[in-house]
Structures are given as structure tokens and as C-alpha cells.
Symmetry: D3
Subunit: 338 residues, 6 copies
């Protein structure tokens, strides 16, 4: 069993490329970093438990129903008073970026306290624990709970992965640095893009001008090395997104493993929906590692999985292991499968 811990929100999105001001029809789905990872892993036939808090109303119950549909273990979700966080998502195209508006304050999850979670019970039988940098940013209570979960995981010898994922609207760089630095000692596998490493830890990749979509591949080893030196994390993965436009990205990834650096294939992607791309990479990496793949194979699996995510609507990466393997093994031609 793999356990992930974080917030899941209602996602409200206009159909197609309409903007919020142009439509009265919204598509309601659900998503959030750690939920997305759990769903991916369940799609890969892993036993995946998602731990969160949800409101005690029909909205919260509908969300649990969706997670169950995707085969996620919802038995440790805490249903309590409060609201469900929402994010509005306009899909960008060409030179117009996608735009996300968050309305997540005061969620049933953020209101929970560390004492609401019994980690020894939650993690019983777990083979992996995963969270993102968004989770501890939500509230002090949740930050405490995250730390407690990490401690318990360490005691139970459960490997821990973290996707750094800095959200500037949730907390300051200073606070992020402080809290995340306290969590890093428990982390075995870190996923961090170049901006987040800089924003949270002040660790900087040289010569990258992300806005222009240009990425300097060579500097990433430095970033990973610095993180390893500071926190003793031996596996650090980075996804490399080259944004040609909102419709077209180049996508690849690198995996640092105790000093060695592995590089994936690079995919030229026509984007359907890029939200959740990083989460699908994290899930692919966790899958590969827990399946005992070697570094290169795990990296290629994760990159192919997240490449496919860009062709899937919604946060959840609705693809199977065999579909990911087919792409990782080289078939990206998109020929019809009959």
C-alpha cells in the first residue's frame, strides 16, 4: 500500500478554451497533488490510500465517491465540518496561458489538527508515503501533521517522497524554507523543479530563463548535488518543461541518484490538459521505484506517464501501465489501437 497525504479540491473548468467570463457551463471534477498521485498509482493496480479531510456534506461525499471510482482507498479520509477547497481552471491555448484561481481558504482539511490523525494506524502496511510542499503550506495544523507522518514513516521504515511544489499564494519563501527544511531529513525521494528549489531553499540552477522556455540542462546536477549535500537526499528528480506555448511543450526529466545523473527521452507534446503533469511524474517514479525498476527505466516510465497526462483531461492521469510502457518503449506515433 502507498499512502499519500494532502488536500483535494473541486476543480471547476469552462468547457474547451472558453474563459470564465464567457460561459455558464462548468465541468466539475476533483484534483490535488497527492490525490492525483494516488489515482495514478491505483490506475497502475497499486493499492493506494489517500488521506485528507473532506466536508460533511454532499460535495464531500461526491468527492469520496469519485476517489472510490478511481479505486483509491478512502478509508482514512476524515469527514468533518467545513468547506471544500475549489479551484477554477481556464485552459490556455497558444500564447494565452492557462489560468488558475484558488478558493481554498478555510477548507475542512486545513482545519484539521495533528492530533486528528493516527499515523500508526494510517500507515500500517504502507510501503511508501508521499506528500507535496502544498500540504504543510495549508495550515500549521496540517504542517504539524505532515511532520508527524514523516516521523512515523521513519519509525516504520517506510520510504518517503516529496514533491517540493512551492505555492507563493499559500506561504512566504521564508516560512516554506523553515517548514520544508524540517521535513527534508525524512525524505528519501525528492521531486523539485528548478524554480521551487530556488524559491524554497535558495538553491539555484545557473543560466535558466524559464519564462523564455529555455532550459539549461547542465546546471541541474548542481541543484541536485546541493540538495543532497544539505539534506542527505539521495534520489532527486526534476521534470524539464520547455514551454513553446500553452499548446505545445517539450517534456523530459532527469533523475539524480547518489551523484549519478540519468536523463529521459524528450517528448514534443500537443497539450490537452497539463494540470497534474508533475503529479503524474511523481506517481510514475514511485511506481518504478516500488516495482524495483533501475533508475533509467523508472525515469523513463515516469516521464512517459507524465507525457501521456498532457493528453488527458482533468487532474487524474487515466492511463494504464501497459499504455505507459508502450510509450516508454518507444511507440509515440499515436496510431489507432483497435
Amino acid at each position: 500500500m502507498i499512502v499519500t497525504f494532502g488536500e483535494i479540491m473541486m476543480r471547476l473548468a469552462p468547457t474547451g478554451y472558453l474563459r470564465l467570463n464567457q460561459t455558464s457551463q462548468l465541468e466539475m471534477t476533483f484534483g490535488g497533488g497527492e490525490a492525483n498521485v494516488a489515482v495514478s498509482l491505483a490506475n497502475y493496480n497499486k493499492n493506494a490510500r489517500f488521506v485528507t479531510g473532506l466536508p460533511d456534506n454532499d460535495i464531500g461525499l461526491a468527492c469520496i465517491g469519485q476517489l472510490r471510482k478511481w479505486n483509491v482507498d478512502t478509508s482514512e479520509i476524515i469527514v468533518n465540518p467545513g468547506r471544500m477547497g475549489i479551484y477554477y481552471c481556464e485552459k490556455g491555448a497558444s500564447q494565452r496561458p492557462s489560468k488558475v484561481i484558488y478558493d481554498r481558504a478555510g477548507s475542512a482539511f486545513a482545519k484539521l489538527k495533528s492530533s486528528d490523525f493516527d499515523w500508526s494506524k494510517i500507515l500500517k502496511g504502507a510501503k511508501w508515503f508521499h506528500f507535496t510542499g502544498i500540504t504543510p503550506a495549508l495550515s500549521d495544523g496540517i504542517a504539524d501533521a505532515t511532520l508527524e507522518a514523516c516521523r512515523q514513516a521513519e519509525q516504520m521504515n517506510i520510504p518517503v517522497s516529496c514533491d517540493l511544489n512551492y505555492r507563493k499564494k499559500l506561504w512566504s519563501k521564508e516560512k516554506a524554507n523553515k517548514v520544508m527544511s524540517g521535513l527534508m531529513p525524512y525524505v528519501d525521494v525528492l521531486i523539485a523543479n528548478e524554480e521551487d528549489a530556488n524559491d524554497v531553499f535558495g538553491i539555484k540552477a545557473g543560466n535558466t530563463d524559464v519564462t523564455a522556455g529555455k532550459l539549461c540542462f547542465e546546471s541541474y546536477r548542481d541543484v541536485a548535488k546541493q540538495i543532497d549535500d544539505r539534506f542527505g537526499i539521495k534520489k532527486i528528480a526534476v521534470t524539464l518543461r520547455e514551454s513553446v506555448s500553452a499548446s505545445n511543450n517539450l517534456w523530459s526529466a532527469m533523475l539524480y541518484d547518489n551523484g549519478d545523473l540519468y536523463s529521459s527521452k524528450k517528448y514534443n507534446i500537443q497539450i490537452v490538459d497539463r494540470v497534474g503533469g508533475g503529479d503524474s511524474f511523481a506517481a510514475g517514479l514511485i511506481y518504478g521505484i516500488t516495482e524495483g525498476y533501475d533508475c533509467q527505466r523508472a525515469l523513463e516510465f515516469a516521464t512517459a506517464a507524465s507525457c501521456l497526462k498532457h493528453s488527458i483531461e482533468g487532474d487524474f492521469n487515466d492511463v494504464s501501465v501497459s499504455e505507459v510502457e508502450a510509450l516508454a518503449n518507444g511507440d509515440g506515433s499515436g496510431r489507432v489501437q483497435r
Copy 2:
């Protein structure tokens, strides 16, 4: 110009008779008691100003755009940080009731303080001021602002109407009693159904068993008389809903005017959407009174307007004066207009 003051929310509703757990398609519109009144009056070609607070993001701006579309004066809406209140609305049918779930805590409007409103400016040129019992229930700041608005209206000789509208999820009966009792002395026209009068002021209509859809008409004069006696309000209107089922209601109204009691026609309604029915009555009554209609005619206009609302989707009553008059004058046959 008629000024209304209150909260407007995003309304998210599944299409048709689907429940929230059955769909991923939500219809996004906007609505709220006082906004509904303003839209009705604008549809009757009245100059209608709606005063509220809205969040400083694309959601708030989309809402303002909709109000402008309906010809409402949005010039005094305060755009400030915060979120927009939401309500989810499942449409009932037959024996299954409609169900509303509120997610309105922490709204940009509720966060405003009395000092944020300059009522002498807002009410300049106003011929009427309207609010509902929901507005002061939202926060102490808004309750203060409501009182200040009433005081200013009195100073400027602007008539004030109030729809009592008790919401038990927003405040206790005790608090409602205290706050509303402080506002009543400024109110010239009160709209109150039988439950609200009891919940807020402990004024009780005899022998009414509302769940069973049976209403005892005779007792309403007592209720109105008691309100008049306590607060000196000379015009008190009540709508009389006999709920046969979620699909079928009987609808009529009564108007107490300084001791006299007027009774409207009764309509047998096949319901399309009953949310906002009371607001459309309030708007019709304000229209009738400001147009100088006599009591019976004003009451019939208001009742016909609100009867038609039940055939209109959404909170806003998309009908014209001529459509209301046609029904008030007796044509409810629904024959095609070519």
C-alpha cells in the same frame, strides 16, 4: 432609483433533475435575495442599484458583468480581497425536495465593515431602499452597515422595505430577534412568511401546519397586526405557498395595509425553478408601490410576477412588465405568443 443591499453568490446547479453525485456538469449563474430584487426591477425598466462586495478576481468580475447584462447599476459594488459565496442547488421533483448547500463563509462581502460604505453617496437620488434578513445575518460588520443604511434612508426620507427571510444556518433566533428588532423601526414595508415571523419575532400564526402544505389563511391578519403593533410597520405582505409537491405548488399572497387585508388570486403552478420566488414577489410589490398602484393592484402584480418566476430557470425573474400585467389581468392560459 431603487437601491438594494445584500450578498450575491455563485449558484452551481446540476442540469435538470440530476443530483450533485450524478453529474460533472454544473450550470453557473448568480443569485441572492437583494440582487434578485434589483434584476427584477431592472427588467421592469426601473433604475436599480445593487450594493454588495465582490472578490477582486475573474469570478467577481464575471458576476458584475452578469449584473450589468441585466441592466443593474453596479457602480457602488465594492471589489475587495476575499472569496465569493457559493450555493449548490439541486432541483427537486415530485416528493423529492430541492436541496441547497451553502458555502458562503468568509465572503468578500461579509468581510466588509460599516465604514466601507458611504450611504449618503450610495443612496443619493434613491427612491427606495431594500434589504432582506439575510444581509445583517452575514456578519456584524454587515449588520452595522445595514443599520447605518436604514438610518441614512430615514434621514433622506427614502422608504425602506425588508424581506424577513430567516436563515437558521446563519444565526440563532435570539440574535436574529435582537438585530432585526433594531432594524424594524426603519422599515416601511415588510415581507414575511409565517415561519419567519415566528422564528425571528416569536409571532405565531395559528393552526398552520406548513409541512403538510395546509395553510390557514385567517390567521395571517393576526400575524401582521402583531408586527404592526410591535414595530409600527403599516404595510406587511405575506406569500402563501401550499406545497403539493416539489413539482406543484399553489401560490397566492396577502397584503396587510394599516389594518386592511387584501388577498390575491391563487395560482396553481407547475414548477420549473422556485428559487427566488419570494424575491420576485418583493420586487413586484416595490414596483407596484413605487408606480402608485393601489393595494390590490400592487398585490396582484407582485403575485403574478412571482408566479411567473416559478417558470423561469435561475434566481433572476426574466419577465417584463407587460408579461406580468398579462397574467395579473387574467391570462394564465399559456397560449403561444406569436
Copy 3:
């Protein structure tokens, strides 16, 4: 083969009970009195030819495609420059009437002249010719063509039916009287409701107050008798709509046959879409007569067919002979057919 002659328009309708001002989604179908009759007859496996003019563009071609789908013979449709008439249709509910807005001026059909039609070719093999009072109202050219068609039908011994259908926005009562009076001598079967008989010929049914939905059955024999006396039409049918509301009508019909009067069952209808109700009656009557049914059976067939039309979306009555017969024979219980 049965030939019908008239205009077909694009019908644009908001979904459900939305008004035009509330939606940006329109349902595009096609409809018009004589086209509706042709489709009904094709659904009854009659060879039905519809004669009209349509614009020489993708809109006109799409309309022809739809007629073909419904198995209507489109071989004599004239494709010429011009536009396609449009009507916007808001569906009413309860006390709110349905509302139709026409935008049909300058249509490709109305621009045609009598000489554009070769009636001896068009009517070759025909067993019936049908038109409505809307057709000659569209333009003088089309009025001439209608007269020419009637003359040719008479020469070829083809029975002619006409649905009087007065449209006050198309022509004055005076002009209607003049033109229709010239056509009546060729008509063998007339369908006319009480208002149209009065509007066009000044023939009045006593004591009917149609707005109030009250109909005085007894007076209809007088109306038919007067028409027979004036024009020598031996079969005259009337549909009797009692409008309880836009959602609920009572529906029955009467058939005058050379002095005798037949009365149909009366149906209590929950309305889905009442547009085309009269046309479906006309088609049912033509079907019954051409099948050699006796008067009572033909009337019951026509009434049952048009009753069912009220449960069908759009102008076209998508029901089969066996479905009509089942209702005419008494099964209106609506039990599921498996």
C-alpha cells in the same frame, strides 16, 4: 403520393425552459406547417412530397438533408438565391406562455413566382394536395402559385386540404379573406380552429372565451355549417384546445361531415412541445381519409396523433402508425414498452 406546399423555416430554440436572454445554446431544427404534415405522413409510410423553395447554401442543403432523413420526397424543392426563414421559439411553462419570434421576411421561398412551379409535373401521381393559410400569406407570388396548384389539382381530380391557420403578422384580415376566399372553392377538407374562422371569414363561434381556456363545444357545428354554406366544403375539422396552462392542455377535436358532427376523445396532456400540434392533426386526418377510415376512426386517429405530438420535441411528429393506433384504441396509460 401526397404533396404539401409551403415554407419550412429554421427553428432556433433554447434548451429546456430557458429564455433567449438566458442562454447561448440554441437547438437548430426545421419546421413549418406543410413540412410538418409531410414528415408525419412519411412517418406513416406514406409517400410524401414537400414542395418549397430553399436557399442555395449550406443552410438550405442541411434542411433538405433533414427532410430526406425523415423520408420526405425533396425532388421538387427549388433551390434559389435568398435566405432561409427563421423562427425563434421559447418554450413556456405553467402560467408563462411559449413565445415565437419570426424572422422570415425575404425568404428564398417567398421570392418565388407562380411560373417557377410546374404543377402538372409536381402533382403527377399525387393522391392528395395540402397547404395552409400561411403559404399564400407569404407573398403575392406564392399566393398565385397556391391558386395555380389548386386549379391543377382540380383538373387532375386530386383532393385538396387546407389548414386555415391565420397569422396576423403576415397579412391583414381583409387580405386573408380575399385570398383565402378565392382558394376555398378548390378545398375538399378544411381544418380551422374557431379563431381563424372568425379572423379570416368573419364566421364566429358563439360564446367562446379562448383566453380563459373555456370552449363552448356546441357552437362549432354552426361554424362548420356556415363555412359549408359559403364555400361548399363538406369536411371541416376543428381541434379543441383547452389551455389550462402552458404545461397542461386538454385536447380533442371535431369533424363535420356534410352536416354530421363527430367528436373525438379528449386527452389531458402534460406538454413537452406543442408547436406543430395542429399540423400533426391535419396529417392524421389526411392519413385516415386516404386510408379509407370512416369519419369517427379518422378523427380519432388524427386526435391521437396530435395528442402524441405534444409529447415530442420539435415541429416533426416522430411517431408511427402503430403508436398512434395504440393510443386511439385506448392505451394512454404510458406504461413502459419493452
Copy 4:
């Protein structure tokens, strides 16, 4: 745990009241007698296991996902080669009946043999077993499996319920009689409407003319008594549907209990979707009995539950225990719940 056994099909339905020939948009849901019962019970927070066979493709997996969403235990579903049964469902209105077209031959379920099911494992921990007369009608293999399940249930002292549900397109009356008569000795609770009792067992209720929507209540005791006499079934329930039209039914039920006869309230229903009405009654009855309700209360619960089903789209009855209880306890006024 309650176990149900039967086929689940894909349900394809046009939106609203459109007919299949009028639309290209189909709503895909899933449904089938025993699946519907399982979902209802899961909605009442019962542990409900549904046993069936589903095809080994994305359609079958999507169906399992939906069942999981509704909290049904899918652990004993057999995934095997074959297709998924489909039924097309046109919603009727007013005098036009709903119409169902089945395309279920050769389903993955029907292909299964008795030996594919290990009933001692499937029924382990079960407190109830339920099937309908459709299940053994699907194939001889499934008929054998049903008999085996009943035998195993008897051995394990698990009560068995059966909804007689005769489908003439699946088997002849003779075969139904033979197979069902073999199953009846294991049945503790039988649900049978008047037509089915006659079609399957030749047991006839006197003077009922179902087409005309008239039901003779008095004769039902005879029917139940005859069944009891023949098969020794002590609890026999009948639902009483009076079809006013496809839009409006009267709905009540009776429960025969060892000679005593209980009668429920009668509901006047405006129909949203009546498919699955009988299944929701069965589920309500099972719920009531397993909760230890007395006969009257169990009957009222079942009747209220199935009344509410008529207001819910799709096969599955998306209502909670508290919603059913509210109606059973007398609140059918449909007033908005806030």
C-alpha cells in the same frame, strides 16, 4: 453484507424527451435489477456485494468503476471475454410511453457457467441474498448458477429474496414457470406485481385491467395467498402502479405477511424517471427487514424509497435513509431543504 446476483447493462438514453431518431447525444449510465438493489442498499450504508460477469475491456472496467463509486462491493465480479449488454431507453411523456430496446444477447455474464461461481466464498458473511427473475432467464448456465446460489444460501441460513420480474423477450412463460418454480422453495421474500404472478405461475388477480390504469386492490391478497400456498413463501410484496400517464403515476404497495396484509400510503407522482422503481422498492424492503422494522414500517420505507426513485434520473436510486424516512414519515411537500 447483502449479496445480489444478476446482469448489469449499459443504459443509453437520449437527453430529455428526445427519441432515438432525434438525437446524436446519448447519456451512458449503467443499470440492472440486482445492481440497482445493491446500489440502493449501499446508499443506505449497507455493505452490498454485487455479483455478475463483465467484459474484459474499458467498458466493463468503467462499469466496475461506477459500481465502486456507489460504494458497491465489486470484489466478486467476474471479468471475462464477451460483450456488455446494452439497453436503449427513451423517456416517455404524457400519453407517449417510455420505450426500452434491449441489446443484451451474448453478454459476458450470460456466457458464464455455474461452475464459474464459488458460492460458499461469495456468500461468506452474507446476511441476505437477492436476485430477480431476469437472472435465470438469461441463459441456462446462469439459471444453474442461480439455483446453486439459492442452495448455498439455504445451507448457510441466509434469507433469500426474489423479484419475479417476468421478461417475455427473454424466455417463454412455460420455461419461466419451470425454472422459477424450482427456485421458489428457497425464497423467503417474494416481490411480484400482478402481471408477473400471472405470466410466470398462472396465478391471477381478479378484475384488474392494467392498461386502463385501474387496479383492483382487493384481489391481491388472493394472489399472495395462492403463492404462499404453492411455495410456502411467507412474505410477498406487491407494488401497485396506477398509470395515469407516462408523466403521472399513483404508487403504493402491499405486503402480505403470513396471511396478514399491510397497505402503504399512496403517492401521486410526477415522474422524472420510473426505470428501476421496482428495484428501489425491493431494496427498501430488504433494508427494512434486515433493520428489523415491523411489517408496516418496512413497507412504508420501501414505498417511500421507490416513490423517490421516480424523481431520480437513471436506474440507481440516489437517496439516503434520512431522505426516505422523511417521506415515509409524512413530508412529501417538497419544500426546499437548506
Copy 5:
């Protein structure tokens, strides 16, 4: 008149890029190789007759209605008991391939026997006969009927074209080889892509690695030459698809004519829907040949037609001759046509 013979299926597809597991909305259209060819030819104003079997229910009738809409001659379609084949179609994007799930076993068409078809009547007046390799794969009865059709065509001097189209889920390579080899002697124009030639006849193009989207143009002459040598087919066409991704293909074609080889322009296509691309090529080629175009012009017409198909939703290629000619003549700029 051009006659095509084969199966038409219901096509059920989620909207946009959704997967089957993500949606409950399916778009229902119809399609199948030979039906697609007939529709294309009808769109080019050719008299096109499509011969098939369809079920005797509303689904079959709806399909016939659609064919009529597209102006296809449906007079020789056999309506008989059975079901309609279905295929589910998920649209791929970028690296994710489109996915087709067939549910076509036991169709009304596959159940037909050779003796059900009177080919001398069906082919009377025909100028061309077309089928694909899917048709004889459906059942032995249909394989016999295909052979009989070919024999009759030869007797009547009607040219025959065949699109080889191997479907491994329908039959083995061995059986395909045997049956198709028996049909080839009657074929005048063969369309075969490189994989099919290999799968069915073991005729292999050198050095093509289709998965990688790389195509070796030079080897195609060999393939065609081998086919010509074996079966004496003088005209053999191949479409050349270079799959960059599911969203982007390069598309061209070659035509072998008695030893000469013609090569078309190559199009860089942004794909809307690629299903039916090959059929639209076949139709374009038949059109060009029957219009007497020279080889190069016929090939360019066919390639342009099939290029445009990729921009059209559904199986049917909704384009006109003038649209195809405009592209074939060089205008692929996509500038707005007003």
C-alpha cells in the same frame, strides 16, 4: 450508380479527448468502411447505393434515416432481426493513440446468408462495385455473398474495387489470405496499405518501420508489382501515413497503374478525426476514376479528399467536390471562406 457492400455500425464516442471512463456523454453517429465510401460519393453528387443488413428496430431505422440524410440510396438495405454492431471510439491526442473497442459480434448483417441478396437486382444500373476486406471477414455467409457479388459484377462488366483493410480481431491471417485470394481475381482497383498487404498476402514492403512513423517510399512499387503479378490487378493504390503523433500526421498516397507509379502531394495534417481517412481516399479514387480523371489527377483528388477527412468529425467525409478540388489545386492555407 455506385454500389458499396459492407457493415455499418453505431459509433459511440466521448466528446473531445475524454476517455470512456471519464464521461457519461456519448456522441452517437454511424460508420463503416463501405458506408463511408457511399456517403463520400453521395456528397460528390454521385448516385450511391449502400447494401447492408440492419436490425428491425428503432436503432436500425435511425441508421437508415442518417444514410438517407447523406443522400445514400438505402433501397436495398435488408432489415432483419438481430442487433447492430457498435464501436466505441476514444480520440487520442499527442502521444496517446486513439482507441477503438469493437462490439460487433452477432450483427443483423453478419447473420445474413448469400441467398438473402439478389445481386442482379442490386447491381442493376451500377457503374462500380466496392467492398473492403472487413466485409468477408464478418461471417462465412457474408463472405459467400461478397464472392457472389463479385461474380455478378464481372458478368455485368461492372468494375470492382476493394480496400484490403485487414482486421486481426475478425479473422486469422490464414483465413484472410484464403478468402481474399478468392476475391482478388474480380478486383480491378485495390487499395492496400503496407501492413495489410503483408498481413493478408504475405507481401512485404522493405525497410518500413511503421511504429516509428518512418516510411520507406521506394519499396511500395515492389509491393504493388507483387500484387499485380499474383492477381492481375492493374491499379493499386496505397496511402502513406507518417504518424508524428496522434495529433499530427503526414499524409500522401501513391497509385500504381500497370507498372507506372504516381505520387501525390504530401499534407501535414493537424488531426480532428482520422477514422475513415482510408475510406475517404477510396471514395476519392473511385470518384476520380469514374469521372475519367487521369491517374495523377485522380490520385491528387483522392489524397486531398482524405486529407480533408482528417479535419472532419465522424466517419463520414462531409466535404464537396469543390472543396476537394480547391485543396487538390493547391489552396491548403485554410483562409476563411466568406
Copy 6:
């Protein structure tokens, strides 16, 4: 305040890439050259007044409501009898061009006469006046009104801009030349693409083969110089569209300013909807000039604004100043904005 003058039409478009013949669902929005400019400017928080004529029915009122929603000043719109112009818009893809069908004859606007407009009142307080070459093409009355507006603007020292926009279906080149030549002396800023300059004034850019999507940049200075020489217009802008396909265009622009020539960045656009691209450029240019931007900055703003328009559905360019500035300043990477 900026005043624009022209026609606004109803735009009816199938969803996605469907053709008119493939769908019954149309998206209804509104658009027209000068309305599009007004909406853009209102989106940039400019006070924008749109002057037109609209029919006196619910369609006209709905259009006014939409304009109000977009914050356009509708106070000088003339509501009069007549119809509303319509255009049908099929979205092209890849090699298939978008296709527009106009149905605008006899519009309420085209029927207006010069005397219907009081330009001294309409232009009071205006800082700019804008029209396109479509406006005077609609009718002689409107051509007169345009000339009158220009004269009044000159008297009031209001700068005038014109987008040449030749529509061959509205008038001949000869008439366009005559009328537009009479208007040019009042124009301060002209926008004209290369084809329009040639069609209307016979002024030709050398060596441009627009169909092939090849543009010869160098020749534009000649065109502008010739216009300047003939009419004394000092600012002339040209947009340069290189049509790779209907899905992909390169887009840039040039601005001639009294002999100097400024060239913008060139954007590689994946097209969502290109209708209104030119109008959004005009609005951007007017915005830049009225904000006092220098030529290069104004040009870059206009080009970025119109680049973004291609990613927005509908005629109206739903983007803000900050979004345009972000792109003009170099961020076209389309990274998600949170």
C-alpha cells in the same frame, strides 16, 4: 470615450469542428467589426460607446444585454423594426478553411437613414471615432450616416480610424472605391491588409501570393506610401497573416507613420478562433495611440492583443491590458498562471 459605428450580428456556430450539416446545436454569440473593437476597448477599461441599430424584439434586447455585460455603452443604440443580421460560422481545421455564411440583408441597422443619427450628441465627449469598410457597404443610408459622422468628428476634432475591410458580397469594387474614397479624407488612422487596399483602391503590394501564405514584407511600405500620397493618411497599419493552415498561422503587423515603418514581433499561433483577429488589432492600436504609446509600443500592443484573440472563442477579445502587456513584453510561453 471612444465611439464605434457599425453592425452587430448574431453569430451561430456549431460546437468544435462540426459542420452545419452535422449538428443541431448552435452556439449563439454576437459580433461585428466595430462592436468587437468596442468590446476590446471596454476590456481595456476604456469608455467605449457602440452605435448601431437593433431590432425591437427579444433578440435585439439580448444583444444589447451582452454588450452591456462587456461594459460597452449602449445608450445610443437605435432600436427599430426589422431583423437582426446573422452569420453562420463553421470553424476550419488543418487544410479545411473556416467558412462563413452571411444572412444579413434587411437588417434593422441597414434600414436606418442618416437623419436617424444625431452625431453631435452621439460624439459628445468622444476622443476617437472608428468604423470599418463594412459599415458604408450595408446600405446607402448607412453610407450617408458614416460620412456625416466623419464630418461631425472632424468638426469636433475627434480623430477617426477606419479598417478598410472589403467584403465583396456587400458591394462591388467600383462602389467601394467611390464611397471609401469619399470617407478617406476624414481618416487619421487606416488599417488595411494588402488585399483590401488592392480591391478598394487598386493599390497593389508587389509579389504577394496570399493564397500560398507567402507574404513579401518589403512591398508594404509602397502600399502605405501610395495611400498616404492619395489621401493624406499619416498612420497606416497592416496585419500580416501567413496562413500555414486553418490551425496554424504566423501573425505580425507593420505600422507606417508618416514615412517611417515599424515592424512587430511575429507570433506562431495555434488557432482557437481567428474571427475578429483584425478587429482586435484595430482596438489594440487605438488603445496604444490614445494612451500615448510611441509607434513601436502601440504596434506591439496591437499585435500581441490580436495574437491573443486567436486563442479566444467568439468575436470578442476577452483579454485584459495586463494580459496583452505580458505577451507584448515577451512572455509567450503559455506557462500556467496561478
